[in-house]
Amino acid sequence: MRRLKWVVPALYIAFLMLPIYWLLSMSFKTTNEILGGFTLWPQNFTLENYRKVLTERTWYMGYVNSLIYVLINTVLSVSVALPAAYAFSRYRFIGDKHLFFWLLSNRMAPAAVFALPFFQLYSAIGLFDTHLAVALAHCLFNVPLAVWILEGFMSGVPKELDELAFIDGYPFWKFFLKIFLPTIAAGIGVAAFFCFMFSWVELLLAKTLTAVDAKPIAATMTRTASSSGYELGLLAAAGALTIVPGAFVIYFVRNYIAKGFSLGRV
């Protein structure tokens, strides 16, 4: 019984890899082969789909646009969340509980509810079709999440650290930047990971707020799928490439994930 324990995760991982295998397999096939009938692996192995995605401007700019707004959003969310999380973990102030719940309630808001008002709001202030618009819009759910995670990490740091620093005469900002932030570096990493993740995978708002200049890769894919016939191979190659940034990020934070989950609150 004990010795067979590995079967459960092994089967589960096999199940996870199956659609990914199929996506990769499709991406190396020619359109003719795909439409010609079912083949388990590529018979005429081709890199043509990848060449097209990586050399045509409409395609590769999609990845660039997505990465730009995801990075702006991650930096913005974590930097505004840091002082707020500190306030929630160290002080009591008028309305703190209500404020915390209000913040979290935005994490529950369906994106579909906000799609149209966001379009009008960002058009009105002249930010429509910019990276900043998507980055700001994604703050709706990423800032509350970052505050929640960071508050968990900060509450794990003993208050004595703050008190000693203040007795030593550190001004607040110097203490916060030079002493406090390095002690919760892992928490900042975990918060940044989750902000990156949720901004990278979101499509509805990103698509609603962009047209040409800041169009995310996900929108390029859906529009291509409907406009240029049924180029499954191309679609598969573009999809396979969207997994790459995520895979990189996971690889770098792999040792923090479990720790982050248990210390933080995601």
Partner: protein
């Protein structure tokens, strides 16, 4: 928590968050409230309608059907993903290269853009060309998710299980990793069965992370839009038209702003209410454990 000092100047620290989230949450929400009480004729002419749209939506069969489908979908995926995630976490290796490999591989689906998840399952499930569709049909099972409501449901549920079970598993795994080895040694000395260890040692220690996992899965499955939209487009017919898909159809497809606004508010309130109930139920016995 009790050690926190009263300091109202802490408001300055939360001010940036309040401005940023307030800008994104309050203005759009007020826009929605505005729509929900008015009739629009185009050309920016509006007429006050009071609660007409709310009573319309509350009595519309279409909304009731979408809500029922949504509740059914959420109930099914919670019933599958939570026990499965816990089972996987219990069976995962605790340390070493295999543990890292498991964590990395299991996180993969979480970082794939949602529309790509939809496309991926679309390609996988195509009845004649996809691995899954082709295999099922060659086994003699008549499977076509674009025609059969049951097949469409089975496919979106399989997709969601594929996409999100890892989140439950990773959270449970984190909860399990936090249990000191001494607990297991004590249980072993007492001669506890593996069920007893699970019930009295592991489950109570996982309670907090499980609460978070259930809440997150509940909220996100209730808000699900992109994946089923890409996969089935809400069809066949309206068979997989969940709440968000219906809402976007009304708001952006038909541009019926009034009903869409009312529907948005009712939808948001349902999520808030159910999340709060879940939270209360799951944390009710916390003090005595």
């Amino acid at each position: 928590m009790s050690a926190r000092v009263v300091n109202n100047r802490a408001w300055w620290l939360v001010l940036p968050v309040v401005i940023l989230v307030g800008f994104n949450a309050v203005i759009p929400l007020m826009t929605v409230v505005n729509y929900s009480v008015q009739e629009t004729f185009g050309n920016n002419r509006f007429l006050f309608e009071g609660v007409k749209w709310f009573s319309d939506v509350m009595h519309s069969a279409r909304f009731h059907d979408a809500l029922k489908r949504q509740l059914l979908f959420t109930a099914i995926i919670l019933a599958i993903e939570v026990p499965l995630g816990v089972a996987i976490a219990l069976a995962m290796p605790r340390r070493g290269a295999w543990a890292s490999a498991c964590l990395v591989l299991m996180s993969m689906p979480l970082l794939i853009p949602w529309n790509v998840v939809g496309s991926m399952w679309n390609i996988l499930a195509l009845p004649d060309l996809g691995l899954l569709g082709w295999t099922l049909n060659s086994l003699g099972i008549n499977y076509n998710y674009t025609r059969q409501p049951f097949a469409a449901w089975a496919t979106i549920i399989a997709m969601d299980v594929w996409h999100w079970t890892s989140l439950v598993a990773l959270l449970s795994y984190a909860g399990l990793s936090a249990i000191p080895p001494a607990y297991y040694q004590a249980a072993k000395i007492d001669g506890a069965s593996s069920w007893a260890i699970f019930r009295y040692v592991q489950l109570p220690k996982m309670r907090r992370v499980l609460t978070i996992a259930v809440l997150l899965r509940f909220m996100d499955s209730f808000n699900i839009y992109t994946e089923p939209f890409v996969l089935t487009g809400g069809g066949p017919g309206n068979a997989t038209t969940l709440l968000s898909i219906d809402l976007v159809k009304v708001a952006l497809g038909q541009f019926d702003l009034g009903p869409a606004g009312a529907m948005s508010l009712i939808y948001f309130l349902i999520i808030l209410l159910l999340s709060w109930l879940f939270y209360r139920v799951m944390t009710s016995g916390e003090e005595d454990s």
